[in-house]
């Protein structure tokens, strides 16, 4: 399976608009300028997911939201442990990095970040395409990245041979490295792009 070049460009553009809006919200929340790079659009065979995710058992902090509506998909923010700690520290203005495994306040602060990021991404997408989309409440996970992504992808008990990923890197905040992954569901792509006649 290949994605035609025009669709790929359109997907990048959609990703751009969404992540641009999300970066603005995150900048406002943290009162620091956060940039998001131009998204990469990947079509990855399931058995090569490792190439897109890195070491499958590396520990990562994940915020996962389901996007429901006319063009459903899954939104996942991935941060390193220290990046997630830095975000919470900036947000809560605590002197010490929080223990993300035990500190419930830190956990809900992170979920709120996920909420804001994904909502702004979705709002931009929705406004741009006119397609109705609503994000779910975020779920927080701190574990092996491969384990979390496989559960997210397999939740409905099926998986395509290839997984479409819109992958954006977050930059600008000191000590923070993160990425935003968006997995549109099979038919959702036609819905989203069909609006533009592509």
């Amino acid at each position: 399976m290949k994605i035609p070049a025009m669709r790929l460009e359109a997907l990048k553009e959609i990703g751009n608009i969404g992540t641009g809006n999300a970066a603005t919200s995150l900048s406002a929340l943290l009162q620091t300028r956060v940039n998001m790079e131009v998204p990469k659009v990947w079509l990855v065979p399931v058995e090569n997911l490792e190439k897109a995710l890195g070491e499958l058992d590396a520990i990562r902090v994940v915020l996962y939201l389901k996007v429901e509506g006319d063009a459903p998909g899954k939104a996942v923010f991935v941060f390193s442990l220290s990046s997630a700690q830095a975000i919470v520290q900036t947000l809560l203005r605590t002197p010490e990095p929080p223990d993300l495994f035990a500190n419930e306040l830190a956990q809900s602060a992170l979920q709120e970040v996920g909420n804001i990021l994904v909502s702004s991404f979705i709002v931009a997408l929705s406004q741009f395409s006119g397609v109705n989309l609503q994000p779910s409440v975020p779920a927080l996970g701190i574990d092996m990245i491969g384990a979390m992504i496989d559960s997210i992808l397999l939740e409905e008990g099926k998986i395509d041979e290839n997984v479409l990923i819109i992958d954006t890197t977050l930059t600008g905040l000191e000590g923070v490295q993160g990425s935003f992954l968006y997995f549109p569901e099979g038919g959702a792509l036609d819905k989203l792009l069909g609006v533009f006649g592509i």
Binding site: N48, I142, A147, D150, S151, L154, I159
Partner: protein
């Protein structure tokens, strides 16, 4: 010298002692080890879903039923005898839950049931399993000893 053979997602590999087989980051996926310590050979699979449902297209190593069949073929080619094979498995977690949502498919649990069922169908005894929970696992199988080493982030390590 012993090497570690890495098994990717939706993949399986076979090997001989003193090598080890490993697969990383199992969530709702399952790592299946089928082995014969006397012959010093084993196979490891990283399956993602319970059943191919008769759909024989694409990568068949991602389903419990078709993957086990392919791996057993390869093990027989290595000269292993069906009657001496044993199995162990780990994985099948439920990593996320959403409050107030309709019950989910619990794909990890269904994967574990499917692996048990398929092993039974082939008459291979399942000697040990570490499945379920809400956490990821990385597993390492020692072909020589038949020990399966399981590592987690925040839930300790164990050998089954």
């Amino acid at each position: 010298m012993s090497n570690t053979i890495v098994v990717g997602m939706a993949d399986y590999k076979v090997g001989k002692a003193p090598d080890k087989l490993m697969t990383a980051g199992l969530g709702s996926c399952i790592g299946i080890c089928v082995y014969d310590t006397l012959a010093g050979a084993a196979g490891m699979a990283h399956i993602m879903l319970p059943s191919s449902n008769g759909n024989l297209q694409g990568n068949l190593a991602k389903y419990a039923d078709t993957c086990l069949e392919m791996m057993l073929e390869d093990l027989y080619k290595l000269g292993l005898r069906k009657t001496r094979l044993k199995a162990k498995m780990a994985g099948g977690a439920q990593m996320f839950s959403f409050k107030g949502k309709v019950p989910q498919l619990k794909i990890g649990e269904r994967n574990a049931e499917a692996v048990e069922r398929e092993l039974k169908k082939h008459g291979i005894p399942l000697l040990a399993a570490d499945v379920g929970g809400t956490f990821g696992r990385t597993i390492n199988f020692d072909i020589k000893s038949g020990e399966l080493h399981i590592r987690t982030i925040n839930h300790g390590e164990k050998v089954i």
